[in-house]
Subunit: 144 residues, 2 copies
């Protein structure tokens, strides 16, 4: 059955919501720390990983970038001294991105701004029950 205009609108608004919130998070991070959101997300994912390192493929999957997009971004972060690359001992084709001490300091410094942004631009706008309800819907969509 063809989606109704109401149903189509919900998909468009979902897309718009994601872009709008991400844009506001990026504005906050740029203003306070001159750090683009995608860079912050790469540093954050590395900071959460055991040994502060992830294979490039895993990292691309977590930050929702294409492998080529991530390669360009990691090049830039490497030039800034925030990330280094290391070969994977167990897999000749594998390559790790590793968070440097400087990268760790940078993500720790920026995290309060990021968390405050998620509170202000997303959570504070919803009612208390909405977060759980939203989570349930996302689970139905098979997003994990």
């Amino acid at each position: 059955m063809r989606p109704t205009s109401e149903e189509l609108a919900v998909w468009r608004l979902l897309h718009r919501a994601q872009v709008q919130i991400a844009g506001r998070l990026e504005d906050d991070l740029m203003k306070a720390h001159d750090l683009p959101l995608a860079s912050y997300e790469v540093l954050l994912r590395l900071s959460e990983a055991p040994g502060l390192r992830l294979r490039m493929n895993d990292l691309a999957h977590r930050v929702l970038l294409s492998r080529s997009g991530l390669t360009r971004l990691v090049d830039r972060l490497q030039r800034e001294g925030l990330v280094s690359r290391e070969a994977c001992e167990s897999d000749a084709r594998g390559l790790y991105a590793v968070l440097t001490a400087q990268g760790k300091a940078r993500v720790e410094e920026a995290t309060p701004v990021y968390l405050r942004g998620i509170r202000r631009h997303f959570l504070d706008l919803l009612d208390p029950d909405d977060v759980g309800r939203c989570r349930e819907m996302l689970a139905k969509l098979g997003v994990v």
Copy 2:
């Protein structure tokens, strides 16, 4: 107050849901019509506009692309004969993107695949009440 890990997870899942659904729509459109999702969305927005035309700035806003990203995409669509550019009579700096007859045929041909994709990859996975509930939440986020 610092977001809980549950609250942070909902933001991450929302982002992931949007990217996942868009990726599936793109797969469908590429397979059936060799048409990337962003191209389809540009053609669709033009097909919905009065006179089949929109100012480049309005179009960028509707398809959630940066002005430079849209310029590159419209260059490509123009080379393929799907879109043309026209100067804006009332505004010397303005530029319209205009859907060509070939572009109109292309978007009409691809639309059933797009609509079926939104049904299959999004609406069918939700319960009947979820669409309205999702819409309410998106309205609270100020997305219109």
